[in-house]
């Protein structure tokens, strides 16, 4: 993707679209950045599946519609109609793939290769989240974001139970994490960015291993024979995504719980915590092949010599959790 000249140009265009929409003063710049982001991301989706590229059409339709809606409701806010405020939130939730607008994300995410899935889940989420934070409209349309948090948490938890495709599993997990991320957003706290950064890191670690092994489905995980370091790394990365305490993934959840435990948001916090346990269930099921000592191995040799990155991932997850609590003491007050 980044090897060719045009791949590099499109990637830079994607990032500059994000940059433009974050740093602009008016809704025009926001829309221009979002359109640039969309236009430069579509070639990456096509590159994964050059023949038909069905996910690119779905992605394009939903995102174009949402950015038109955002622009229109932003520009026509000069009449201060109450409807327009919630329309802006609706369009940003549609862009994110948050609940209740997550169906396109399921379909598109299931048809992408891992690198495109990773950039769909991390880079494409930056600008709508920043816009949700900066638009400051959460005072007026709180109900919508509450809905998104609770429904996203619960659906992200329960929806992934019957999934065999690893990409759909990670889409449901990202729904759940979106719910966690929007909790600080609602009270205009900057901690959502910390959560987003840690989520990107953890997702990158999981997707990196799955990309190297080219695993797309749950039953494929039982037919790779890899070294015990790689298996342990996969296990630990999945657990960290689920939010188990000494690992890296616990820290952002702990910040959100700390921030919202004294406030009136206990109701949604309850739903989020309960659904996190359910997500942990399907992460554990995904990493079940690690725990099997004696299973049928494939006959041909599978060379997997990425030891350094595995060890790096392991260090980041295991030690990073404790280190970040020590470093970010100021966040916890």
């Amino acid at each position: 993707m980044l090897n060719s000249f045009w791949g590099f140009m499109f990637f830079m265009g994607m990032l500059s679209g994000v940059w433009i929409s974050i740093h602009s003063n008016s809704w025009f710049g926001v829309w221009a950045g979002l359109e640039l982001n969309l236009i430069c991301f579509i070639p990456f989706i096509i590159q994964g599946d050059v023949v038909c590229s069905e996910p690119s059409v779905k992605y394009f339709l939903v995102q174009a519609c949402a950015s038109f809606l955002l622009f229109f409701s932003g520009v026509s806010m000069m009449n201060y109609m109450g409807v327009m405020k919630s329309l802006i939130t609706i369009s940003l939730l549609m862009k994110l793939g948050a609940a209740p607008f997550y169906f396109w994300y399921l379909w598109v995410g299931n048809s992408l290769k891992w690198i495109q899935f990773l950039s769909l889940s991390t880079i494409q989420k930056i600008s709508p989240l920043v816009l949700l934070f900066f638009s400051g409209l959460n005072k007026g349309s709180e109900v919508l974001i509450y809905l998104s948090i609770i429904v996203g948490g619960v659906v992200g938890g329960i929806g992934g139970i019957n999934e065999a495709s690893l990409r759909k599993l990670l889409v449901y997990s990202s729904l759940n994490h979106m719910g966690w991320m929007m909790m600080p957003l609602m009270v205009e706290n900057e901690l959502w960015l910390v959560y987003f950064f840690f989520y990107c890191l953890m997702l990158m670690m999981v997707v990196w291993i799955l990309y190297l092994l080219k695993l797309y489905y749950l039953n494929q995980m039982f037919s790779v024979s890899i070294s015990w370091i790689a298996k342990l790394t996969l296990f630990v990365s999945f657990l960290s995504l689920g939010g188990l305490p000494p690992l890296l993934g616990f820290f952002p959840k702990f910040i959100v719980i700390e921030m919202s435990s004294g406030s009136l948001m206990l109701f949604s916090l309850f739903f989020l915590i309960m659904s996190s346990v359910i997500t942990l269930f399907y992460y554990l099921r995904a990493s079940l092949s690690v725990l099997m000592l004696n299973y049928s191995k494939v006959k041909f040799n599978f060379t997997f010599s990425e030891k350094f990155s595995m060890i790096l991932i392991m260090i980041m997850t295991m030690i990073g959790g404790v280190m970040s609590i020590m470093f970010f003491q100021s966040f916890l007050q």
């Binding site: 025009f28 359109e35 236009i39 023949v51 038909c52 059409v57 174009a64 519609c65 622009f71 229109f72």
Partner: protein, 85 residues
């Protein structure tokens, strides 16, 4: 009036069941409603109207992208219907 035009276009976008080209057309209808808003409201306020040019140029890029995506779809599936057997 332009609110009505835009909302109708938005509704038509969601009520499309068969052809992908219909949803592209409704996207262009949304863009048309916004373009008319950008052209007409500065006239009422007696200010400059250059933002409509910038808007329409980006919309044209996006429309061209949508059309080329439909071409990819039709090449594989033979038609531009959402559901084929």
């Amino acid at each position: 009036m332009i609110y009505f035009m835009f909302m109708m276009a938005f509704m038509v976008f969601f009520l499309v069941f068969k052809h992908i080209l219909s949803s592209l057309i409704s996207l262009e209808f949304m863009a048309l409603a916004m373009f008319s808003m950008f052209s007409l409201s500065p006239m009422l306020l007696k200010s400059e109207m250059y933002s409509s040019f910038l808007f329409i140029s980006i919309v044209v890029c996006e429309a061209a992208l949508g059309l080329s995506l439909i071409i990819l779809w039709v090449r594989k599936k033979g038609n531009d219907l959402f559901i084929t057997f």
